[in-house]
């Protein structure tokens, strides 16, 4: 989204280093993420793109040996600062994982999970509404509206992933992080999710890690290329795919390594 022709920057990473124990996984990453756009992070396995994604909602906190240095500004607020409330942060930054991970609960409980823990609904009716809108936005409502009280684990893989997206958007996050959301899905389910991503970017800023360059080209407006823990190049998807500055990017895009 542009206001007066100026790109709005939602997330600004400055000199981010990540260590697993003594091993450094990310080197000096600086990257701006535009608001209401889809940013794709591509690169070979183990290049640190998922690690970077997990920095953005501080999911790396869960890993004992992992430490993050540098600044990550979201709405100009440094989330690595001590004053940052992780619970509030994760309310604003949703996440969808590689493998669909619905909770062993009913569909309804899966979607109402976030709103419940953040106290977003005052009544059963309000909660029903949140669940319905979230499922509708995740393009799952029509398929599941008659079995909201069945376990979420009974759905197909693609449906489970859309359920996870519904769960993530139920708390109306500003940013949605997606970590290879389609890698466990078949082509039809993948197409549905990609369509959904396109729809979601109207209201959310989306960052997607993907192995599929075709997918990055299809869904994203901006792309960042990671290699061996470094951000080699980033820019508009058009440019990265058609006319990259860096030779490594060119080689990777054209499939010469990776």
């Amino acid at each position: 989204m542009r206001k007066n022709g100026v790109k709005m920057i939602k997330i600004k990473a400055k000199d981010v280093d990540v260590f697993y124990g003594k091993k450094q996984a990310l080197f000096n990453i600086s990257l701006d993420i535009e608001e209401n756009q889809v940013t794709a992070l591509i690169g070979p396995s183990g290049c640190g793109k998922s690690t970077f994604l997990r920095c953005l909602n501080r999911m790396n906190d869960v890993i004992d040996i992992c430490s993050v240095k540098g600044e990550i500004l979201i709405n100009d607020f440094n989330i690595n600062d001590k004053s940052c409330d992780v619970v509030r942060l994760r309310e604003k930054i949703g996440m969808v994982f590689q493998k669909p991970n619905p909770f062993p609960k009913t569909l309804y409980e899966n979607v109402s999970y976030g709103p419940t823990i953040h106290g977003m609904a005052q009544s059963k009716q309000e909660m029903d509404e949140i669940v319905e809108t979230s499922l509708k936005k995740a393009a799952l409502w029509e398929e599941v509206k008659d079995r909201l009280h069945e376990p979420g684990t009974g759905l197909s893989g693609g449906q489970q992933q859309r359920l996870c997206i519904a769960r993530a958007i139920s708390v109306r996050p500003e940013v949605i992080l997606m970590d290879e959301p389609c890698s466990a899905l078949d082509p039809i389910a993948t197409a549905q999710i990609e369509e959904l991503i396109d729809e979601l970017k109207k209201e959310h800023t989306i960052i997607i890690v993907t192995h599929s360059m075709a997918q990055a080209a299809r869904v994203s407006q901006n792309t960042g290329f990671f290699h061996l823990g470094q951000l080699i190049e980033h820019g508009s998807t058009d440019k990265i795919f058609k006319n990259p500055d860096n030779k490594k990017t060119q080689d990777y895009i054209t499939g010469r390594f990776g």
Partner: protein, 461 residues
């Protein structure tokens, strides 16, 4: 003699393995393709060595004594002895042949003893001859088969299958045997004591049955009001209940702490420490309960003006609970740890705190396992003997006051079976009846546990 023969057969087995393998290499060296890896040829030969030996050994063990006895007693068959006398005669000559006979030695017995010895030695030598020739014949046959490079892998695999099947069959048959002995003894018990009196009687006083002189005729009426099992069932469940009141909260919370909160280092030391509790023999818990906890509770109670028995249900149940903590803690720790990390990630990513994640996601996901571990704990509490015997006394009081002493099924079985017992006596059979009821209770618990686990599995997987 048998040992030497056995060792020799084992050596033969190894040798035939060696020759079988060597034969395989010879076949291989002629550029022929083997039907299996060389060691299968070896195993094949070794099996053909072991099977005839095993069969002949078992046949000998079964039939040798009978045949020897028949041969010896055939000398006396026409002299009008009674069966009992013949048996005695046979036992006497056997004892004499071993040099263990102390009574009067008659020529008859001496002759039989000599005959017994000679028969035994004939039997021994013929066994050696038959076993060895059988082995040689079968190994030769097998060697011929492998020489023509016929299949060896399938027979070897089949043999292993049969061995494993026999092992599991033995386990099952033992269980079935135990259950049947329980059932028959229990049925005998209920022929004397009406089932109704046992299940609904409120007075358990087996000591009354001890005073019966076994020469007197059995009079069922004298047992009325003796074998009423209600007090001991109540005591069993009551003590188990107290134990679970201690074990479930502490065990579960420490399990959750270890799985979710403890740092790797704390976990590394704390988990083995808790598991040490499980390694303490129950006898030790028993005297800990009887000598430390019991008197402590009594003093504590007295200082508060309560009347506490030195052998109280509370002391036994509490210590039993401590004993069960490591089971519940360790099992629930395992179950919680095995909840997939991606569920935790999903919850954290929604902004849930650790406790919310545990309460709303991990605990429900781990529930089947946790219920399983709790029911396992209950089974142990109900089956536990030593602590109750030592700490809660043997008087079967019907009470719900944890400060009084009460008794359990297992403790009563101990009471009944200590000292002299006579088979076919109601007081001995009462132990079987109690054992049977205990078995049924535990069986039901296990079935319920399986059902619960299965139900949740279906729901969540």
């Amino acid at each position: 003699m048998n040992l030497i023969l056995f060792t020799f057969i084992v050596l033969l087995g190894f040798t035939s393995y060696y020759f079988g393998r060597k034969k395989a290499y010879t076949i291989q060296s002629t550029k022929k393709r083997l039907t299996a890896l060389p060691q299968f040829y070896g195993y094949y030969l070794a099996i053909w060595c072991a099977i005839p030996a095993f069969i002949i050994f078992s046949l000998w063990a079964i039939f040798e004594p009978t045949i020897v006895k028949l041969l010896i007693l055939s000398d006396y068959s026409n002299q009008g002895y009674l069966d009992d006398e013949l048996n005695l005669l046979y036992e006497k000559s056997k004892a004499l042949s071993r040099g263990q006979f102390t009574g009067e030695i008659t020529p008859f017995i001496e002759a039989s003893a000599e005959k017994y010895l000679s028969l035994r030695s004939i039997a021994q030598s013929s066994k050696v001859v038959i076993v060895l020739s059988a082995i040689i014949a079968s190994v030769a046959y097998a060697y011929k088969r492998i020489s023509s490079n016929s299949r060896t892998r399938e027979p070897v695999e089949k043999f292993l299958n049969a061995v494993l099947f026999t092992a599991s069959l033995a386990a099952i048959l033992t269980t079935v045997g135990i259950v049947f002995s329980l059932i028959f003894q229990t049925i005998d018990f209920f022929k004397v004591i009406p089932l109704f009196d046992f299940v609904f009687g409120t007075h358990w006083y087996p000591a009354k049955a001890f005073v019966r002189d076994s020469s007197e005729a059995l009079d069922p009426t004298m047992y009325s009001d003796t074998f009423g099992a209600v007090p001991i069932f109540a005591g069993t469940f009551f003590i188990a209940f107290i134990a679970m009141c201690v074990a479930i909260p502490i065990g579960l919370m420490s399990g959750i702490y270890l799985a979710e909160y403890a740092s790797t280092k704390v976990r590394q030391y704390a988990k083995p420490l808790i598991e040490i509790l499980a390694g303490i023999p129950t006898v030790v818990y028993g005297f800990f309960a009887a000598l430390t906890v019991g008197p402590f509770l009594k003093e504590l109670g007295t200082s508060m003006g309560l009347e506490v028995s030195a052998e109280s249900a509370l002391a036994a149940g509490g210590v039993m609970g401590i004993m069960i903590i490591p089971f519940i803690s360790s099992l629930s720790d395992d179950v919680i740890t095995s909840v997939p990390q991606n569920l935790r990630d999903g919850s954290y990513a929604m902004g849930a705190t650790k406790s919310e994640t545990i309460k709303r996601v991990i605990f429900p996901a781990a529930l089947p396992g946790i219920v399983g571990s709790i029911l396992l704990g209950v089974s142990r509490a109900i089956g536990e003997t030593m602590i109750v015997v030592m700490a809660s006394g043997l008087a079967a009081n019907l009470t719900l006051n944890p400060l009084e002493s009460t008794s359990t099924i297992t403790a009563q079985i101990v009471v009944i079976l200590i000292g002299d017992q006579a088979f076919g006596d109601p007081k001995t059979q009462a132990a079987f009846a109690l054992g049977m009821s205990l078995f049924l209770v535990t069986l039901c618990l296990n079935i319920v546990a399986l059902r619960v686990v299965k139900k949740y599995r279906e729901k969540y997987e």
